[in-house]
Amino acid sequence: MKGAHWRNVFLTSYLVFALLPIYWMVNMSFRTNEDILSSFSFFPKHFTWANYAVIFTDPAWYSGYINSLIYVAINMVISVTVALPAAYAFSRYRFLGDRHVFFWLLTNRMTPPAIFLLPFFQLYSTVGLMDTHLAVALAHLVFNVPLAVWILEGFMSGIPREIDETAYIDGYTFPRFFLKIFLPLIKAGIGVTAFFCFMFSWVELLLARTLTSVNAKPIVATMTRTVSASGMDWAVLAAAGVLTIVPGAIVIWFVRHYIAKGFAMGRV
């Protein structure tokens, strides 16, 4: 079992590398600014909940989390729902312009978000969507839908077409086959896709900040408040950072089974 031994050593050292900066953030979130800037310390010497108290008692802070969660959830649901049938079409059939449409979708993922700023601002102002959760959710579709189609297509292509054909011979209609047989087979793919949609929408700052002002202001924009004329509020920013990890960690906890189990071909 020498191989397994080295595998664990490698995995453990990576996890240490991955978690140390996060630990440092957690550490900072329990300290005061003076303490952070004046001394090097592995543990908070003057342990304090004050930074978290700031966030949980100020509506401007905690509503940021709620706003972000709302538009991220809307975006995730729309992205995955529209991407599923499209990904199936790309993985199973050839049709007029299929390759071009597929590549065109990807090009939207490659466009720097800065390009979309001004046009989105003008567009959403015209239709009266400014400062709504829907505006941000729709704007984020630009990069999340292509990504969702792309990831799902990869997973669907990995499933032999014989499965489809057998189901049709057995008398399944397309919607019934798709929902009952096909979707369970690509659970892993859906889990990964949902997670990535969540993540990219959750951390996006530029568009979310530009399209909102008060009612739908996301947490990433609220965080920029910690930079002020009197200097940086490191401790509160660290606490806010720790709290931004929590919802995503919950999402990955829910989809972990879909990722871990993968698909069970032999048991169909």
Binding site: N8, L11, I22, F103, V145, F155, G189, R256
Partner: protein, 302 residues
């Protein structure tokens, strides 16, 4: 396997096309529009044709930013892709340890990008940060604000820390999607661990690897927030990558025309590289599939 032609499949794609077209085509048209005009004020615009494109392409600073960007993006791929694959192979396949590892590995992806920069700003300081202090302790004169090489390496390390999980998660999900029959067939053939990787796992990972490589390429090519927060592009311009240069032009100098032309050139470069990578990976992939082991697996699975 040749896919059947079915024009009705367009109905399945239509929702996606509508969603994306609504929010993508209009903005792009606006940018194209700006790139050929001199906008003196909202009412006064002069058509200037390709003037901005010519001036952007002749910009010396742009050339050096471009070289820095390319070196950086390829360094990112060279480190993160092998590391991500190795990590995916090393992660436990089932049980509570699999769940725990998955969550722990994914954590760094969930931190907003400006916070990532801020953490590393403290983390790398030699007086109060763990990384800086540790490097100082082993005798390195480490300073990400003073030494260009250190700054560059810190930005790279931050990127590896931040984004390797993306490659790892995609590959991990890809590995879990390989039916057991493939491994059983390999076992019957007496295949070595290396052969299993080369002839079963790697070809089956082709799809997700392509996604991972392209995503990492395009995102590292557009990297902005993290180095901006960490180093502000310095020292000198050692970590001034393309987006930051673009933003300096668009926001700092209010040059909408040149900035739009720059955006389009920028976009076309990403497009070109992705196109080349995409086609290259597709060709490499089709050569290595269809081996005896995977054929056996396919038969076993059906």
């Amino acid at each position: 396997m040749i896919k059947p032609v079915n024009q009705k499949a367009w109905w399945l794609v239509l929702p996606v096309v509508i969603c994306v077209a609504f929010s993508a085509i209009l903005p792009l048209m606006t940018v194209v529009n700006y790139s050929v005009q001199d906008i003196i004020s909202p009412e006064r615009r002069v058509f200037v044709g390709t003037e901005w494109f010519v001036s952007v392409l002749r910009d010396e600073e742009l050339h050096s930013a471009m070289v820095r960007q390319l070196v950086y993006s390829f360094a990112v791929l060279a480190v993160e892709v092998p590391l991500g694959i190795a990590l995916a192979l090393a992660m436990p396949a089932a049980g509570w340890r699999a769940s725990a590892t998955l969550v722990l590995v994914a954590l760094s992806l969930l931190i907003p990008w400006n916070v990532v920069g801020t953490i590393w700003q403290i983390f790398g300081r030699s007086d109060i940060g763990l990384l800086g202090a540790a490097l100082q302790a082993i005798g390195l004169e480490y300073s990400y604000t003073g030494n260009p090489t250190h700054a560059w390496l810190t930005v790279l390390a931050m990127d590896v820390w931040h984004w390797t999980p993306l490659v790892a998660l995609l590959c991990y999900a890809g590995l879990r999607a390989i039916p057991d029959a493939f491994y059983q067939a390999a076992q019957i053939d007496g295949a070595s661990r290396l052969a299993v990787f080369r002839y079963i796992q790697l070809p089956k990972l082709r799809g997700v690897l392509m996604i991972a490589v392209l995503l990492r390429f395009m995102d590292s090519f557009m990297i902005y927030t993290e180095p901006f927060v960490l180093t502000g592009g310095g020292p000198g311009n050692a970590t001034t990558f393309l987006s930051q240069y673009l933003t300096q032009k668009a926001v700092g100098q209010f040059d909408l025309g040149p900035a739009a032309a720059f955006s389009l050139i920028y976009f076309l470069i990403i497009l070109l590289f992705c196109f080349v990578l995409y086609n290259w990976m597709q060709r490499v992939g089709t050569h290595s599939t269809g081996t005896a082991a995977s054929d056996a697996g396919e038969r076993g699975a059906v």
